[in-house]
Symmetry: D3
Subunit: 158 residues, 6 copies
Amino acid sequence: MSPGERLINAITLEYYQRIGILEKNAAPLHTTATERGETMGNRLEEFREYRTRMNDRIFKIDHLGIKRFFNLDTTAYNDGALDGKTKELLGLAASAVLRCNDCIDYHLLQCVEAGWKDEELYDALNVSLIVGGSIVIPHLRHAVETIDLLRAEKAGSE
Amino acid sequence: MSPGERLINAITLEYYQRIGILEKNAAPLHTTATERGETMGNRLEEFREYRTRMNDRIFKIDHLGIKRFFNLDTTAYNDGALDGKTKELLGLAASAVLRCNDCIDYHLLQCVEAGWKDEELYDALNVSLIVGGSIVIPHLRHAVETIDLLRAEKAGSE
Amino acid sequence: MSPGERLINAITLEYYQRIGILEKNAAPLHTTATERGETMGNRLEEFREYRTRMNDRIFKIDHLGIKRFFNLDTTAYNDGALDGKTKELLGLAASAVLRCNDCIDYHLLQCVEAGWKDEELYDALNVSLIVGGSIVIPHLRHAVETIDLLRAEKAGSE
Amino acid sequence: MSPGERLINAITLEYYQRIGILEKNAAPLHTTATERGETMGNRLEEFREYRTRMNDRIFKIDHLGIKRFFNLDTTAYNDGALDGKTKELLGLAASAVLRCNDCIDYHLLQCVEAGWKDEELYDALNVSLIVGGSIVIPHLRHAVETIDLLRAEKAGSE
Amino acid sequence: MSPGERLINAITLEYYQRIGILEKNAAPLHTTATERGETMGNRLEEFREYRTRMNDRIFKIDHLGIKRFFNLDTTAYNDGALDGKTKELLGLAASAVLRCNDCIDYHLLQCVEAGWKDEELYDALNVSLIVGGSIVIPHLRHAVETIDLLRAEKAGSE
Amino acid sequence: MSPGERLINAITLEYYQRIGILEKNAAPLHTTATERGETMGNRLEEFREYRTRMNDRIFKIDHLGIKRFFNLDTTAYNDGALDGKTKELLGLAASAVLRCNDCIDYHLLQCVEAGWKDEELYDALNVSLIVGGSIVIPHLRHAVETIDLLRAEKAGSE
């Protein structure tokens, strides 16, 4: 966590405590696993923490339309006529051509969880590369790094 | 074929004959199956004919980079770490979120050929709808109509 | 309706009757008001008819996720913290920068219904033009023509 | 011009006359060169006519921001640090990756006018194809057909 | 400010001084409020400073077309047929569906300044979420965090 | 390099060594020139290093389709009907309207290498600004900063 990020945390922590979203004695937001004394931590973990924190914040907003959309988004990847595993791969391919790194990371997490192997993920990313062109390349780099980080995490936790 | 389209054909036919792409006695371009006295014809057939004609035209241009890209595009959907059937579905999902009707039609042709069932195609399109939002809806309408036309064609040819 | 469109209607009508979506004695799909002997008919009416027909078709598919999304899409423009009138204008601005003519037409129908005046719609479209650039211009042309058609319809029906 | 388009013209013509945009005895809108007894006419001519008619209509709206943007858009392709010819090619490449057929047609008209040769235009389109991927292919087909129509027109008028 | 950013500043500062854009004794670029001994500072402030610095730099380039576009962009949100407040909300909705965090932040600054309340901003963002789909979610998270930072700033400055 | 980035490096370094991509005694990834005791280093250098490292990683994946696409991408900018210098400018204009900072940086590196002058690059970016609208402005800021960094590097190395 950079000094700038630490500062954002300090500001929003105080604000969130004031408006009652967080307990007065809450731990600083955004502390990485490393700062909390754990051994494994990287940009994926920061992504997960940020995602969880902001999803919680959005949930607190209590906008019925937004909450229903989040719910619909989750159920779209459940088993149906297609199984969930296949649909996560569709989500990955769609995210890659739309060039959204956070979405790519999210679907890679789900794809690895669902059992897709690296070679299969590369083959799916190749489809996105051909459909979307060289403008996808920076996101291909990001995706390949994310796959490596996921495998490194897994290897580290075994 | 509308009068306007017939006119385009007349113009380009003459031009193509002059530059030697078509024989002097070539049939008018773009005639639909119906006009040629066949019983089945619809926008899918026009799409196939236009696609074939222009791909031939592009091939005649003989630009090495373009030809290689077309080749790479074809091989991307061959069996590999993922089978071709799965990759066609990825191509469909990517085309739908990028909102390209011609690409959707092309991948639907391939998907039906590869054996995907209607319910599975709808489930894939639902993923694209959730990822891409309501701006995808006009393309969902188009895709569902294309699936119906493909099934009607198949039923008609049996 | 062009001969080609008439043909599509004939094919899909027969198919829809066979699979039970339409009555055996249903009127041909896609007939315009003019063909049915009415005095007013234009591309807006064709758009409305196509939209209604395909939405009905999609509803028959009975995919829970798709139906819920359609429902969520409708409720997003209901009065809430912002009134529905304002939200229709947001939908128009978003559709224009995303360059979707069908979406522009739909939101213009709703905007005129909600009481936005032409000068206000032009001012909203100007924001979309500045945000989205000259690539939006063909859609600005389409939008201005749609506004004219809507006003002409209204004048004709008074 | 299809019957449907003829109808739109009739409706908008009447409306435009009523609001004073067109003279009472104006020729029907959208008549093609062919219908006016001229020998050459195609989708390019329809595009030019529609573009001119709607640009006139938009000019009549008299929105200062829109008019200034149109002006800025025109001057962007004037000779400057780069000559106008080069900038038209940039406009073509940008239009192709953004997948806008009308914009592609407009810039192709300007590029041919500026003296770019077919092989040079194909080479520029190849860059757009590589940058934008297979989703650009339908627009590549359109662009190549437009180049052929432009050359056929030129050959016909010589 | 991270060490990397500090380095960029040092390099560009030196360069800007050499080409005469900055005084020899100018303060280092990009110093945050915190580093200058002020109490409030966060990513919004960094965004404002970077935006101001680069807009100044672009202004120095003195390209007539770019300067006119910047001017047109500013005036597009002035009161007109629609009031400026409404147009800022349109700018926000358009920025969200086009998925540009910097543009979202800029329009949120303006929207809060114009008096839109949090619940109204969430309702506008919901329209963007429905129109643009789940690919908008990372930008929704960013937007909600920005709203919180803006409110925290305001609370801190009272 | 921030502490977080250092951590990613440590993790992936270890992982890459384990899977045999890097030697056991390899230098830490991502060290900037500054950290290696060199005098010039900035975000461009980090971009170049990251780009090289991940391209190497992707090359190791050995996916035939991906490798061929990378090859095709490189050759697209070679001299052909258009010279390579012109095609790099097309790549820049396309990258700017597609709003990809990494792609903009890459093509700016190539454009400066090819001999384009600052005023010419600004004129090309102005075309992208007009075509793509205000949503391009954050990328215009980025591009102008990159040009300054490139000139500062060059001045520093002379």
